[in-house]
């Protein structure tokens, strides 16, 4: 279990997140909020890239910073702006990341993942020639390299065409049974059918952490998109 306990994050005088309490067990958790709500900040804290100003993040009762490499060993992270080295091919990049993730003999795993994201044909081509969608698929592959128990994906479908998004959704659904998957998105359809819980923030505070049906019932919305507009409608106008 991954627990976010009374977490606040401030950057100088700006409060990005205030007193957040969340629990993640297994399944898909969708973070659905407008830009600037704090989704990426939360994800970076879960990925140990930044530290809470107050509160703590626990994995099975132990703070994740104390767990250090033992926690990051089971973590897979796809950031919002996935960077890469232009002169590297997908195979080279994944081999480098395998070394960083301390994966022994990663060749077979790399082949399987590139096949899963439909990049086998271009696995030795330099990534500077790739489209945005292809880069994103490399990003998804690297997040799965170490078969993580906690998978954190920040806007994973950005740049993917509809066919790739459906394929991605199916991949995530197949992976979610025995792991925690936390993904943020602006595209409601990405999570509506697969998310066990939807997390919504408003004014940098937690508003909901409930199933899509519960949120819709509470707000009297026909679907999750309507629920989003009810909560954030004035902000987005």
């Amino acid at each position: 279990m991954l627990t976010v306990k009374n977490v606040t994050k401030k950057f100088g005088n700006f409060t990005a997140l205030e007193d957040i309490n969340l629990e993640f067990i297994s399944g898909v958790y969708g973070l659905l909020s407008p830009n600037g709500a704090g989704k990426t900040t939360l994800m970076k804290m879960l990925a140990t890239l930044i530290f809470p100003t107050k509160g703590e993040v626990l994995y099975n009762g132990t703070e994740i910073t104390a767990l250090d490499e033992k926690y990051r060993e089971i973590l897979g992270f796809l950031p919002q702006d996935f960077g890469y080295y232009k002169s590297y091919s997908p195979v080279q990049y994944l081999e480098y990341l395998s070394a960083l993730k301390d994966i022994k003999n990663p060749k077979k795993r790399i082949e399987e993942l590139l096949e899963a994201v439909s990049l086998s044909d271009v696995k030795h081509k330099k990534m500077k020639k790739f489209s945005g969608g292809m880069i994103q698929r490399v990003g998804i592959a690297q997040a799965l390299l170490n078969d993580p128990k906690i998978l954190i994906l920040d806007e994973p479908t950005a740049g993917l065409d509809p066919k790739e998004r459906v394929r991605f959704r199916k991949l995530i659904e197949s992976l979610s049974h025995d792991r925690i998957v936390i993904l943020s998105t602006h595209i409601v359809s990405d999570i509506e059918s697969i998310a066990k819980n939807v997390v919504m923030f408003k004014d940098h505070k937690l508003l909901y952490s409930k199933s899509p049906d519960e949120i819709c019932a509470e707000l009297g919305a026909a679907n999750l998109e309507d629920a989003f507009m009810i909560v954030h409608g004035e902000e987005s106008q």
Binding site: K44, A47, T48, L49, I50, F51, D68, E69, R72, E73, L75, F77, L78, P79, D81, F82, G83, Y84, Y85, K86, S87, Y96, L97, A99, L100, K101, D102, G139, Q142, N146
Partner: protein, 272 residues
Amino acid sequence: MIFKYEMKKLSGLTLVWVFIAVTIAFNALKAVNILSSIGWAELYGELFGSFGMLLFFECTALNLLILLFITGCENTSGTAAVLFSSKTGRRLIKLKLSAAFLAGSIAFAVIYFFSYIILFSIHDLSGVWEQELSLLNGNAEAFGIVVWENITLRQFFIGGLAISYILNMIFIALSTPIALFIRNSYIAFGLVAGMVVSNLFLIAALPVNWLFYKIVKTTPLGLITENTIWFSSGGLALPMPGFETVITAFYLLLGLAFVLTGLKVYSGKDLI
């Protein structure tokens, strides 16, 4: 294994190779110019004075570029989030610093070797290396070279190379906190360059206050500008023999402290 990847990133950096090539070419021209215009007496001043200093500053600038590149390249390429969230990601910065020191040492060896090979191939110094320095100088005061032990030119030259290398590594070590905490490599380079220029200005322009001048002269930059008085007691008019050697050792320890403290503080900070 990861160290190998970091070294590979550096070896693929075209700027480094261009810098080395241009530097050696420039030094070759300087070597020809030295030898065409001066006699024996001035040769030593150039050899251990301005030419040695030129090489030192070239290596220092290059090693600073290497340090800033290797510590900043993840932020520049946008790969920081992926790398630092990996299992061994937090160890990465130590490996990067090790790679910077190793690459800096290799760059030092390459620049110095080829520059001096060119210099010595043009001018034949055989038969001179074993001569005692005091005899070669003739008028020691002309160079400010006062030695407390009569060493040979070869010993003085090797000692000078060793001191230059150590001072180069000290400079990288002292620049490490700047490289760690200023995420923009260009701003970090500008800051360090500004500090170097300020220090040189203080050394050159402010000798009026004796104590201040002496303090400034004991910085690593002050040491290198006084490289003719290494292993001597006369350069700073102080009675202790080997004073410059002692303060070089002090700055080596200070540099190590800077690196270790920088790493410790860095580990507690937001990474991106």
